[in-house]
């Protein structure tokens, strides 16, 4: 009797375990069908580049929300897995290894900026990943890795991309400027931009009268600006990061440095806080840009994007207008999403093949990738700050304050030349 009792208990327990296992496996099965597609990346959320990293992340999150509202990719929801790379390239290999091996992400994109993309390249090549780079300059020039694509519109020749429009504009002015001063920070992007500028100076037959670099931690730019004023150049090309862009511009006003054409590759003047703080001091500067609210730049979907971005950015304390990087970060995700949907797969090679062969329609216009994964045709804009008054942010929301001067097909205004005329 006792034995029988035990046996029945054993049967009951065994049966319960079997049912539980069956239920669990069924549960696992249904869970797999709705498993999210994980897209992983490191992003500069603290450190020097976080002023751009955070807005980029916000744009990517908006894309994720948009996609999930429409039912996700391949019927699966999308999940972003990201870590703070602290603007420190040394953290990048660890972050991506963890995401691939522990978090098991399906796809990756890069973090923001040239220096943070560089350490990702060897990992991407070793693991045969498809990578969309977010604003890196010439990262694939040496590797020529076929499954790398770059969302910034610098085009097939990244080194000269910043300076091309600037010097073409210079060459068109009447009377034609003759002498050029070059100045930039001792850091990767400015150095590359200066290499490009030197090549273009040769091509256009200008004469270089000053060509120097400075350490990025410089506090006072007055001595540099004075040295430039002493050689009296017609054109001043500056390749700088945000603190130096502000420092150079303030010093130029204090010293009354007034070349005929001033600007080129000054990073930071595109940021909302810098624009509103510098106000009229920006007038006359001809600088590169990627997106401005001009009629020629209103691609389908871009206004909807800003309608979502700007209120969220204000709440999170990141770039309020978000014209510089966010639309491109969103577009990078659009490219990846469209490639997944069209190739009906999360296979790295199939996605890369599709991206290489296709022209994409995104909120920053049509994108076709070419040599080294850069845009087949570059589209770095040259804009000029005109009639900026006071520090009101509203003035920058509409057209007219930063008309596009270059390229011709997107032109929305005329240059005020020389620089001094724009200051009046």
């Amino acid at each position: 009797m006792r034995q029988r009792g035990r046996r029945s208990i054993a049967w009951t327990v065994g049966g319960a375990v079997a049912v539980a296992l069956l239920l669990a496996s069924a549960g696992a099965f249904t869970a797999r069908a709705a498993d999210p597609i994980k897209i992983g990346f490191g992003m500069a959320l603290t450190g020097g580049l976080s002023a751009n990293g955070k807005p980029a992340l916000l744009a990517m999150q908006i894309w994720k929300d948009d996609v999930n509202k429409k039912g996700g990719l391949l019927g699966r929801p999308v999940e972003l897995v990201f870590y703070d790379d602290q603007t420190n390239p040394a953290t990048v290999p660890g972050i991506y290894t963890k995401m691939l091996d522990v978090d098991k992400v399906d796809l990756v994109v890069s973090g923001y900026g040239t220096n943070l993309i560089a350490p990702l390249m060897p990992i991407a090549m070793e693991r045969k990943l498809t990578v969309i780079g977010i604003f890196g300059l010439a990262n694939n020039e040496k590797y020529r890795y076929p499954n790398y694509f770059q969302i910034s519109p610098t085009g097939p020749d990244p080194a000269t991309s910043t300076a091309t429009g600037f010097f073409e504009l210079a060459a068109k002015q009447n009377p034609r400027p003759q002498t050029v001063a070059l100045v930039g920070a001792d850091a990767e992007y400015p150095q590359t931009a200066l290499v490009g500028a030197r090549e273009l100076i040769k091509r256009h037959g200008f004469k270089t009268v000053y060509d120097k670099t400075y350490p990025p931690s410089t506090v006072d730019y007055t001595p540099i600006v004075r040295a430039i004023k002493a050689v009296n150049p017609d054109v001043l090309f500056v390749a700088s990061y945000p603190p130096d862009s502000v420092g150079m511009l303030r010093a130029a006003h204090e010293v009354s440095l007034q070349p005929k054409l001033f600007g080129g590759g000054m990073v930071g003047l595109q940021f909302t806080t810098v624009m509103t703080s510098m106000g009229p001091m920006l007038n006359g500067i001809v600088n590169y840009d990627y997106w401005v609210p001009e009629p020629t730049m209103m691609f389908p979907g871009i206004q909807d994007f800003f309608k979502q971005y700007q209120p969220r950015a204000a709440k999170e304390g990141v770039d309020t207008l978000g014209y510089y990087l966010p639309p491109y970060a969103y577009a990078a995700m659009q490219v990846l999403g469209q490639a997944v949907e069209a190739s009906k797969s999360i296979d790295q090679q199939k996605i890369a093949d599709y991206i290489r062969a296709t022209e994409f329609t995104t909120i920053v216009g049509k994108i076709k990738f070419g040599k080294n994964g850069e845009w087949a045709k570059g589209r770095t804009l040259m804009v000029q700050y005109q009639k900026v008054q006071g520090s009101d942010i509203e003035q920058f929301r509409g057209p007219g304050k930063k008309p596009v001067l270059y390229p011709d097909e997107l032109k929305s205004g005329n240059i005020i030349y020389p620089y001094s005329a724009a200051l009046k």
Binding site: T46, A51, P215, D220, P223, R226, A227, P243, S277
Partner: protein, 290 residues
Amino acid sequence: MFSWELLANALVAGLLLGGFYTAVSLGISLIFGLLDIANIAQPAFLILGSYAAYVMNTAFGLDPILTGVLFTPLFYGLGVVVYRVYYGSFERRGEESLRGLVFFFGLLFIIEVSLSLKYGVDYRLVQAAYIGKSIDLGGVGIAYRLLVPCLVGLAMTLALYLFLGRTFYGRAIMAVSQDGPALRLMGADPIHIKTIAFGIGIAAASLAGALLITIAPVIPSTDRDYIGRMFAITVLGGMGSIGGTLVASVILGVIESLMGTFFGPSWSLAVSFGILLIALAVRPAGLFGR
């Protein structure tokens, strides 16, 4: 490219920069130089001062430097609290050397990250009537943006110099830096004196932070640019010497400016630190060290 006018301008710009560097380094000269506390977090208090100036400037249109002055009691209080925690947790137990360093490192990151979370990571600037304007004195241009911080830096130096030399508490701070136990025998409490000195050091950093944001835009991680400069100036000037801090700051400022004008700004920091190394080889105690 050489001209006397350019040289005069470079020298003046260097002096102005030196005045600002003095303001930045006075606090650490007191804390590291006199109290021997390796407060790595000092530049974070500098940036905290910058953000105080930024917040008051954007919210109420208050002048950044006036904010800096008004906020000094608050930062003095903050310094007192930080020192009390540091003393209670490390110094009292004789664990200040390595663990204390880790404590200040942690503090640096906490301040930096808190600022990032509260105010975001955008570059912050302030508005003031004198920013972007300059006066011309016989061909030598002086930017108000640099002149005002320089004058404030000099005033701070003078005030601290007089305080340390002429007042009871000032002399007590000098005494505690030389011999704490002896001070105790005289009936004074070295911990109380050190607390006051630490508070003053943090207040000085916060005021210098207000000067910084009038000169250049600031983000929470700007503090890292100043760690090297602050400690280099303190060591070059001679540990704890207020006059030495002023002289070392001016030397660094003038070298940076001259290099920037005549030889290429790339070299300015390398030459400044080269001179620091040579000075230390010749005078290991620094220029005015005891």
